[in-house]
């Protein structure tokens, strides 16, 4: 595929210019490469090249024990490592039929939603930066730092959290979580509100995002969209609501739905979702405080994890969409096969379709709004 662009003559057929964006480009998220054929400033054809961050995570999983794979899952979507950890642990627990204690599940919900907020903050901030609005990025990233501090005080890491263990979580919430959350919550809401004020009704922002790379719900479903990108197209699907896992059936929250599936809708969905996540954390934390201080945090799991022979697929609603782990066990202490279903991978397939006929600058905006994380995409 890529060989036809190996020599860029500058004038291919029909006076098109082929330009190469990435893999190391300031506007590219991680090591993504797009080879775009342009007619003037319009993209005629965009070829994404993937695999620059391929680390063989799935193969690595076959050589590590079930517990040892948890730190590896941190490195998939590094903006919200905790969601990956929880997804993987839940898959193994499903395979072994472990009942996770309620308190541990509440801590998981709190941490996953914090990770979701952090992920969306990065996305909205970077989307602004890519379109030339730098200020909201600062307002959001300052609050993200506070979230990362909660993570750091919880188990000692900021980015690659290695959160949770198979059968529960490794620690109780820190004693100062209460104070931190009470300080963080109004600041978060304020940051979201300020970003909203700066961007949403700004004419430049609207012109750059509304109607750009719009997508119909039928196409989105056909391409396998999940998560915020699918909900932006107007399909109300959220695994937390539709296939409740963990304790999500106990919380009341809305699922924001867009209309056009364009960049603006994807941005708005994320803004609303941050507010919903704050609601969920509030409810989960209220439930958590009602639990006994010595309530169990770990289910009784054997020392060496040897699931029965069989296979399992479990997916959770990660900040990006449906993040699933397919695990095949042959009864030994190492998985026979681990297959990861990253939401980015399915969304990125539609990228050439999305940007066909758009401007080069909109290609960057589209890429930002899809939240393509190379670590998750290439695995």
């Amino acid at each position: 595929m890529a060989n036809e662009y190996a020599v860029n003559t500058g004038h291919s057929t029909g006076d098109y210019v082929t330009i190469n964006i990435g893999p190391s480009h300031p506007a590219m998220h991680g090591t993504l490469r797009v080879i775009a054929q342009t007619d003037g400033e319009t993209v005629v054809k965009a070829d994404p090249e993937i695999g620059y961050l391929h680390r063989g995570v799935e193969k690595l999983g076959e050589h590590l024990t079930y517990h040892q794979f948890i730190p590896i899952t941190d490195r998939l979507n590094y903006c919200s490592a905790i969601a990956n950890n929880v997804s993987y642990e839940m898959a193994v627990e499903k395979l072994m039929g472990i009942e996770v204690p309620e308190k541990a599940q509440l801590i998981r919900v709190i941490m996953t939603e914090l990770a979701r907020i952090a992920d969306h903050q990065v996305l909205v901030g970077i989307l602004g930066v890519d379109l030339g609005a730098f200020t909201p990025f600062f307002y959001l990233i300052i609050q993200r730092e506070e979230i990362y501090e909660i993570f750091e005080w919880y188990n000692g890491a900021r980015l690659t959290n290695t959160f949770g263990r198979i059968g529960g979580v490794e620690a109780d919430l820190p004693d100062d979580f209460d104070a931190r959350w009470r300080e963080l919550k109004p600041n978060l809401l304020k940051a979201i509100d300020e970003t909203d004020k700066l961007l949403t009704h700004n004419r430049i922002w609207m012109d750059r995002t509304i109607g750009v790379t719009a997508f119909s719900p039928e196409d989105a479903l056909a391409w396998g969209f999940t998560g915020p990108c699918l909900r932006a197209c107007g399909v109300k699907r959220d695994l937390r609501k539709d296939e409740p896992y963990g304790l999500y059936d106990r919380f009341t929250f809305d699922v924001p739905v867009g209309k056009n599936g364009d960049v603006f809708d994807r941005y708005m969905i994320r803004m609303r979702e941050m507010e919903e996540s704050i609601k969920i954390i509030d409810q989960a934390y209220a439930m958590y405080r009602e639990m006994a201080p010595d309530a169990p945090l770990m289910a009784k799991v054997p020392k060496t994890i040897k699931p029965p022979v069989g296979e399992v697929y479990h997916a959770i609603e990660s900040p990006n969409g449906e993040l699933g782990f397919f695990i095949k066990s042959d009864g030994s202490e190492k998985p026979y096969r681990i297959k990861i279903r990253p939401p980015c991978y399915m969304i990125y397939q539609a990228f050439p379709e999305l940007v066909k006929g758009e401007m080069i600058a909109d290609l960057i905006a589209c890429l930002s709004s899809l939240n393509i994380i190379a670590g998750e995409l290439d695995r």
């Binding site: 730190p71 690659t160 290695t162 104070a179 009704h201 700004n202 430049i204 056009n260 009784k300």
Partner: protein, 219 residues
């Protein structure tokens, strides 16, 4: 595959364009003035500024997973018995341990009947997951607060036993030892037995609440 047509409907204030821009400018100006006034307040970090590293260091979490250390007990004896559980559980396989019997007359140096003759951590491979800490039955290996891990040569990245013990002594001097682990309660049994039985149950306690840092006021 055709893209759906999106009609842009702007309200008047959006169409005029300057109204919203001015609103945004007022907001950023308010931020600026707040920070400007706050910058005259005494004390560090009254405004969200960068940490002026290395003069100015942020507080690190007491349970931070940084550079490793090998702990000594109160009598100054080495806790490590060289069982190799940490090396076995390490996902990155960066620990090598060699066990040896404690010789006659050496009992004062080691807490157990055996000790680790050789103990090496390859920092270039370590991913700081903290599993060694959880696997250790004696609480000997602990990830400390050291985060300045730059070295000049690969050889310096091999943390030998002397270096690990020196890390512990330094942390003890500075009073930066990790708080005692709180055992994680396990469903269906007492927490005490859980600690001895299950790897997963050996979790870091979060210890006493750290003093809240004087966080900058978020405007």
């Amino acid at each position: 595959m055709s893209k759906p047509a999106v009609e842009k409907r702007y309200t008047l204030s959006e169409r005029v364009y300057l109204v919203e821009i001015l609103k945004g400018l007022v907001l950023t100006w308010r931020h600026f003035m707040f920070n400007f006034r706050a910058s005259f307040r005494p004390g560090p970090h009254t405004v969200p500024t960068c940490w002026q590293y290395p003069e100015d260091r942020r507080e690190i979490s007491p349970v931070f997973r940084g550079e490793h250390m090998l702990c000594l007990d109160e009598q100054g004896r080495e806790l490590c018995v060289g069982c190799g559980m940490c090396a076995k559980t390490c996902p990155a396989q960066c620990i090598t341990v060699k066990m040896a019997k404690v010789a006659e007359g050496e009992e004062g140096r080691y807490a157990g009947k055996t000790y680790s003759q050789g103990f090496n951590i390859d920092l270039l491979r370590c991913i700081f997951c903290g599993f060694c800490e959880e696997a250790c039955p004696k609480g000997a290996i602990v990830l400390g607060q050291g985060y300045e891990l730059a070295r000049y040569t690969p050889g310096e990245c091999q943390l030998g036993k002397e270096r690990l013990l020196a890390n512990f002594r330094k942390a003890k001097e500075e009073g930066k030892l990790k708080p005692k682990k709180r055992p994680v309660p396990v469903a269906g049994e007492a927490a005490k037995e859980a600690g001895a039985e299950e790897k997963g149950a050996k979790a870091k306690g979060t210890g006493p609440a750290p003093a809240k840092k004087s966080s900058p006021p978020k405007s």
